[in-house]
């Protein structure tokens, strides 16, 4: 009830701002929000040293630089429960004053999309201010003699092995992709990270693998040069209209949808493809959203969106981004809503299909 009143007040406040100041409102909103001397806590539901933690820590100094008043931006790790714990705590605790933001990853989005009953956060209510995409490349042992996805039919009856982190982890995306392509892949679970999967591939235990872009460049490119591995396709990225497009890091490599067409001669479609697309968007194309709590005033939201837009445009950030952000376009400003929606929504029938698939094929109880 108190919350509702506060929201009403805030709405009334911003409405008043619009009425009173008309066209100069953006300038007003910038000036009215000042974080001088404050500390912004960037909640991180993962432990120190993970990919998302690195991402937040990379952005933190730039966010501080471009927020009015240059607040101190600190990353606060609240790990546990596969990132559900920290995110639940954020929505229960964080006040909409612009001093607490939440950064999540595909592994936080997946349980939400799958309808895990322990999830108490609702992405539809959080307000995105930055969305960072990522990508990856799927590759095979060169000995199969498959040079392009068009030749994948050669191995469609062969038993392939993939080292997976688990059926409901980010490796759900390759699982759905391989199934869609019609490849016979056995998923060996219990890998501690994609690095383990690559190790299994190098040992010859696994016969199909993918790595995220930076790990692919440093660790798989030498294998490709040595003639032991052959790249097949990238996952691709989503353009502003929400279509799958080629990964800017690998412009010469077909993306998954192209690979499907090369193999099957037609575009993928149907409920399985809908499901794939939802999890691909959430796990790759819009993997890491940064959000403000429900009920944050429009002023603060606009301030944050501008700060992130300025940060991304900063030549210093562009110079330093290296492997942390890769060559991917960071969604900021007005581009954000479309990508955020892709990352955080799924058609109900696609969700039911995935839940049923995981339950019957892998005994996952949700």
């Amino acid at each position: 009830m108190a919350d509702f009143t506060r929201r009403q007040l805030l709405a009334a406040g911003s409405a008043a701002a619009v009425l009173g100041l008309g066209g100069v409102r953006p300038a007003f909103s910038q000036a009215s929000v000042d974080f001088a001397g404050k500390t912004v806590e960037w909640w991180m539901p993962f432990s120190e040293g993970g990919g998302s933690d690195v991402w937040a820590r990379f952005f933190a100094p730039y966010l501080s630089k471009y927020l009015p008043g240059n607040p101190n931006v600190v990353v606060r790790n609240v790990p546990g429960g596969g990132s559900i714990t920290g995110s639940n705590e954020f929505v229960a605790r964080a006040r909409p004053d612009g001093l607490a933001i939440l950064g999540t990853s595909g592994s936080t989005q997946f349980p939400f999309l799958l309808g895990d009953p322990r999830v108490r956060y609702d992405y539809a209510k959080l307000i995105p201010v930055l969305v960072s995409p990522t990508g990856g490349v799927c590759y095979l042992p060169a000995k199969f003699g498959v040079k392009t996805p068009a030749e994948l039919n050669k191995i469609k009856d062969q038993d392939l092995v993939y080292g997976s982190q688990g059926a409901t982890s980010l490796d759900l995306v390759p699982m759905l992709a391989f199934r869609l392509l019609g490849l016979k892949v056995r998923h060996v679970f219990g890998m501690q990270g994609r690095g383990d999967g690559r190790l299994a591939f190098e040992r010859g235990e696994a016969t199909i693998d993918y790595q995220t872009s930076s790990a692919y460049l440093t660790n798989v490119t030498p294998l490709v040069e040595a003639g032991t591995a052959a790249p097949m396709f990238s996952w691709g990225v989503l353009d502003a209209q929400g279509n799958v497009a080629r990964d800017p890091t690998f412009p010469d490599l077909p993306h998954f949808v192209e690979a499907y067409e090369m193999m099957h001669g037609k575009k993928p479609s149907g409920i399985e493809y809908d499901a794939y697309l939802a999890f691909f968007g959430s796990g790759f194309a819009a993997q890491k959203p940064c959000m403000l709590p429900e009920g944050t005033s429009d002023d603060i939201v606009a301030t944050y969106r501008k700060a992130f837009a300025d940060a991304v445009a900063d030549p210093e950030l562009q110079k330093a981004k290296g492997d942390v952000l890769g060559d991917y376009t960071q969604a900021v400003g007005s581009d954000i809503e479309q990508l955020y929606k892709v990352a955080t929504t799924i058609k109900p029938e696609a969700r039911d299909w995935v839940r049923n698939f995981l339950n019957t094929e892998y005994q996952v109880k949700l």
């Binding site: 040293g49 820590r57 429960g81 679970f189 235990e205």
Partner: protein, 674 residues
Amino acid sequence: MIDVFVTSLQNLLTLHHLSYMMIGVAIGLVVGILPALGGIAGMSLLLPFVYGMEPTAAIAMMVGLLAVIPTSDTFSCILMGIPGSSASQATVLDGFPLARKGEAARALSASFSASMIGGLFGALCLTAIVIVARPLILSFTSAELFMLAIFGLSMVGVLSGSSLAKGVAACALGLAFGAIGTAPANGGERMTFDSLYLMSGLEITIIGLGIFALPEVLDLLRGQTSISSTGKLGQGWLTGVRDTWREKWLTLRCATIGACVGLMPGLGGSVSDWISYGHTVQSAKDKSQFGKGDIRGVIGPEAANNSCAGGNLIPTLLFGIPGSGSMAIFLAAMILIGLQPGPGMADPKRDLDLTYTVVWTLALANVVGTAACIALSPSIARLTTIRFVLFAPFMILIIVFGAFQSTRSFEDILALLVIALTGIFLKRFGWPRPAFLIGFVLAGQVETYFYQAVQFYGYGFPLRPIAVAIALITIASLWFTSRSRQAPKEETVPGGITTDIDFEREEDETAAAKNLWPQVIFTAVTFGFFIFTIAEGAQNSFLDAVFPVSVGIVGLLTAAFVLFWQVRGATGRGPAGTVNFDLDDGASSGSLWRFVGWLVGFVIAIGLLGFTLALVGFFLTFLKVVAKSSWLQASVLTAAAVGLVLVLTSILNMNLPGGLLQHYFYSQLVWPLR
């Protein structure tokens, strides 16, 4: 190749590089000395500063820190019985009894010199091995790693003390505790009671603190005036160094174990720690003093954990796969400063010089760190002569705070309480706690690698050549163990501090109880827990059920065996033999439960009022009631404790655990209270 060495040496020996290394060493010393803050906390402290630093400076700083932590965390192991990190739990077993005998000085200097030799030897091995490390690591597949885990489990035979059945049961208990959480194969949840907290399993830190540290603290509280029973530090600095020199081959063997285990991604520091302790006990002729303060029990694991930290660097640098929690942060920091680890790190034409710089920085930092530790020891060791009732609340605070570091939730503290109760009973009834720890540490590896090996290679996986070799080593090791178990016992020095590694057999009457019913009840509860493990495990899909059900059955059988003999003894139908063990039977020094009550009270207060207020209340009442301090002394000590906690939390940027007060009035409270 030579030019690579030269370039690395030039990098290493610049003032710039050395001064950053010294900063890392200094922070590592502080973090290591503060109990329960290990490498992960230290690296997280550095992480915000690393960003934007010049790469070689950042690396020098981080490696300096990583090198010194396994050395400096020995202080809390030996002086307080609190494992400084998960990779130094075994040091507590003999190090703490040595401190209680008044030989803290000797134990510290022996362990520091062993650490240094271990670290240097590790660096030497790594220098030689870097070039071939990639194929070497690749040749150890899930099948070989599973066999290594089994080898680790076989150490239970050595560490079981008087009753092998209890040893195996304790190990099964550890394995069952390790099975709590999400299963590796199909992701089924086992024994989680639908709680998010248990979903990711119990943390090794909490297990170490609960099983070793808290039972010792509570035990010390009844009666002991200071940790050192003689109230003295002992004059033993040179003796300790001489001890290490006498055991130089043991030191080198354990350093080799550490480097090898560290090299394998996926095994980790605690595994190397326990395997090297097992090896130390196994290779000793006179085993009677282990667990009661045998200097070799300190030297072995300390040599291993330093070289293991070095070994860990290799998979991190060459494959980008972190070998431990602190390595994960090291890896993250490398990516932040624009270095992506990979095969290029072993390529003489690319970054091999950087790898050598890292390895040698590690060696150099080891030497510097050891020197600093030795210099600091005399003053720090004085802690053991402080009146214990004044010191105990600090230890309890540190243990609780350390446990809370795991996931930073109140559940960490509840888990600590449950584990500590388990630890108290294991200790009291002579269930070997090292066996429990080995089981817990290896549970994940045994299950995951078994499942993966079967998936990759079928059930014939143990026939792979390296796997066969490891199997033969395991069998040889078991054979030696069984021979030494039958060897005649030597007379032991009476009055030794009895802990669970008790190699006495039937003739040991001191711990054999007249009233066996308490033991019977504990064994029956354990029996019940194994039934629960089987029942909970069996609800999952086949792949997720195999491990808990098998462990449960082994535990059930051994517990039944123990129970049979104990009931026999309790009902007077015959002697209970080696399974009869109760440290508390007829104890005269007051009850332990009074102090357990204090601990429970503290935890309840945290749950109601949040950490800061509970801390103030606990300190003031404990110091007034138990230590009978003056108000002045009590308030000064309380202020010191609160100050310590607040400084640490603000540096580590974390919130303290909240209670119901925080839950309902979060918005109205300000920082230290919320």
